[in-house]
């Protein structure tokens, strides 16, 4: 536990560990942090936090982009420059960091409505999105709402090649007007 926390703090720059300077993973990770935030915690609304997502989820999605099975506006290009071993190492690194929700508060009636809309999501993601049912499912609590909304647009658009059939089916069942509400519901959850 202490080791885990130390790595996490080093990632956020809270402790100084000169040995990390020579650690090869640090150089690789630095290329991700520009867009995903120092230590993988994003401050950009359209960019996801990646620190603390499960190793399986991260590895799966990165490899799907690399193989071309799953579309992305930009990650398919970027990730193709990394070897499979580097991708595995990156997934492992970010999975070890703690999940740091960036809670985006919204009005109570919106929360109530969001909870209702996301009823069908509960089985896999948990009530608040914070307790995924398995390692392949990402956490959603305190993830950026804007990012989640854009992800749902991708699932809902037949022109965008996504891989998870259940997600495609379920997001397409949402009313257009409810997409942003569902995203904001998860963005507002701390746990």
């Amino acid at each position: 536990m202490r080791y885990k926390l130390l790595i996490a703090m080093a990632a956020l720059g809270l402790v100084a560990t000169p040995a990390l300077a020579a650690d090869p993973i640090q150089g690789l990770v630095n290329t991700c942090n520009n867009c995903h935030g120092t230590g993988g915690v994003s401050v950009g609304h359209s960019m996801p936090s990646i620190a603390g997502l499960s190793e399986t989820y991260l590895k799966n999605i990165l490899m799907e982009w690399k193989s071309g099975a799953r579309a992305s506006a930009n990650m398919t290009r970027l990730i193709s420059g990394y070897t499979d071993a580097e991708i595995a190492a990156l997934a492992k690194y970010y999975a070890k960091l703690p999940w740091t929700p960036v809670v985006q508060p919204v009005a109570a009636d919106l929360i109530a409505k969001g909870k209702d809309i996301t009823d069908r999501c509960e089985t896999c993601h948990g009530v608040t999105g914070g307790k995924p049912d398995d390692e392949e499912t990402p956490r959603l609590n305190g993830q950026w709402a804007k990012y989640l909304e854009l992800e749902m647009l991708k699932y809902r658009d037949p022109a965008f090649q996504m891989t998870h059939k259940k997600m495609i089916r379920n997001t397409q069942k949402l009313d257009q007007g409810d997409v942003a509400t569902a995203a904001k519901y998860y963005g507002a959850q701390s746990k």
Binding site: L6, L14, A22, T31, V41, A73
Partner: protein
């Protein structure tokens, strides 16, 4: 646009920090702190320039070794981002959203000195400032950005820029150009003059033209035109820009967009401006005289003056670097990063080798800074030189829900830069089956540009 939730983010970091302070003994946290090369005392790193490159270098040295004494020297108290400043000019974004101070770096323990460097003594390893300070260093990060050269255009000078803005260093110039553009009458001509490459922000002029056209459309000034007089015969993301201009701004098939809202004149077609009549806002090339209502000349530029004065800019006016560390090819104790350096074979557009050197972008400056920071900390602590990784992502927003990007990756193999083609390239112009690119791709990248900006600003300055 919703408010950034930075306060909550900082709270989260603070919470993690205080929790950890209780559970981890201090000895496990703090690095030993590298000692100065002359023995005794803390090692000292001085950083010249508080842009994306310099700020990132200062932050990352401090992150890796809190025992190192880091001083960042920057004349301005507020930094204005060049990336996405075109959205300020076209009225799409408030300038405050692209500005930051240096409190974040100060909180991390970086000494921020608001001053201006007037000299570097390489033999004695001492930096002298205008304010009369002398700072010794064990490693120096040189990140001064660019210096304009006005002499390529007759009648042009720095004095003229208060009336004919360059807006190629963001801040007052950005607002001046915005003010002029907002006041343009319907039917007016906005002329952008582009210097010969390499220049800072390769897609910048074309993005600026696109957003100006977008402004004309939204403000009922549909008879306005934006004309790019380009010293070069090709440009960054050309296929993507041309496609966007066709889709949104009436670009026609003649290759120059003569009757459309955006017109691009290549260097060989008369775009190579060599004369300015400032009083009449008229620019001329060998073939063209053009009177503008709003005139924006981007001056040619080279490495920042202090890099030149220090004897580091010997590669055609730019600073050549050692690929493994970003150290200057001229001095192993100085690391030259950002727009002032040339990393790789210098690209000239239209040259099949284009893309082999790193573009002058904020993102590249930041990855260069991280490489330099790791190399410096490793060296000062007697650790082996780390393997460097360089990456770039550059978004262009060119219209409503319309953005695209280019990515670059570089590694170092046998001591030389290697462009990683597989991990690089522009957004698709067509899908693999030659069908048009679905609109969602362009929308996503327009949204990602904003997320990118917020994260790079935080990763560099906070």
């Amino acid at each position: 646009m919703s408010q950034i939730n930075r306060r909550n983010f900082i709270k989260a970091i603070a919470a993690a920090s205080s929790a950890a302070a209780v559970s981890i003994p201090l000895s496990a946290c703090a690095g030993p702190g590298a000692k100065t090369s002359s023995g005794g005392g803390k090692a000292r790193v001085v950083v010249i320039g508080g842009g994306y490159g310099g700020a990132t270098a200062a932050k990352y040295v401090k992150m890796l070794d809190g025992g190192i004494d880091v001083t960042l020297i920057e004349p301005n108290a507020v930094y204005t981002s060049c990336p996405l400043s075109n959205e300020v000019i076209s009225g799409h974004r408030d300038i405050k959203t692209i500005q930051t101070g240096y409190d974040g770096l100060k909180k991390r323990g970086v000494n921020v000195l608001q001053d201006f460097v007037i000299g570097v003594d390489r033999a004695k390893k001492v930096v002298t400032t205008k304010g009369g300070k002398k700072l010794e260093y064990d490693a120096l990060v040189m990140s001064p950005g660019i210096e304009f050269h006005y002499n390529g255009i007759e009648g042009y000078s720095e004095a003229v820029t208060t009336d004919i803005p360059h807006a190629w260093k963001a801040g007052e110039q950005t607002l001046l150009l915005k003010k002029q553009l907002m006041a343009i009458p319907d039917g007016g001509k906005f002329v952008i003059v582009v210097p010969k490459g390499p220049f800072r922000c390769p897609p910048g002029p074309y993005e600026r033209a696109s957003l100006a056209a977008n402004y004309f459309q939204h403000s009922g000034k549909k008879k306005c035109k934006v004309i790019i007089l380009d010293a070069n015969d090709s440009h960054s993301k050309k296929g993507l820009f041309t496609q966007a201009w066709k889709a949104m701004y009436g670009w026609e098939k003649d290759g120059m967009g003569t009757n459309s809202m955006v017109e691009w004149v290549a260097g060989s077609q008369g775009g190579n401006v060599n004369k300015l009549d400032a009083k009449n806002r008229t620019v001329s090339s060998d073939f063209v005289d053009m009177k503008a209502d709003v005139l924006n000349i981007i001056p040619a530029h080279k490495a920042g003056k202090i890099a030149v004065d220090t004897g580091l800019a010997k590669e055609n006016g730019w600073c050549k670097v050692v690929p493994m560390t970003m150290a200057s090819a001229e001095d192993e104790n100085i690391y030259t990063i950002g727009d002032s350096c040339v990393a790789g074979e210098m690209a000239i557009y239209g040259n099949p080798n284009a893309n082999f050197d790193m573009p002058k972008s904020a993102h590249i400056a930041m990855t260069q800074a991280k490489v330099a920071a790791a190399a410096i900390v490793a060296k000062l602590n007697g650790l082996p030189t780390p393997q460097p990784y360089y990456a770039n992502t550059c978004y262009s927003v060119v219209g409503d829900d319309y953005g695209f990007s280019v990515a670059h990756q570089y590694r170092v193999v046998d001591g030389t830069f290697k462009y990683i083609k597989e991990g690089s390239g522009i957004s698709p112009i067509l899908m693999p089956d030659k069908s048009p690119v679905p609109a969602i791709y362009r929308k996503l990248e327009a949204e990602y540009a904003d997320g990118w900006l917020r994260n790079v600003m935080a990763d560099a300055f906070i």
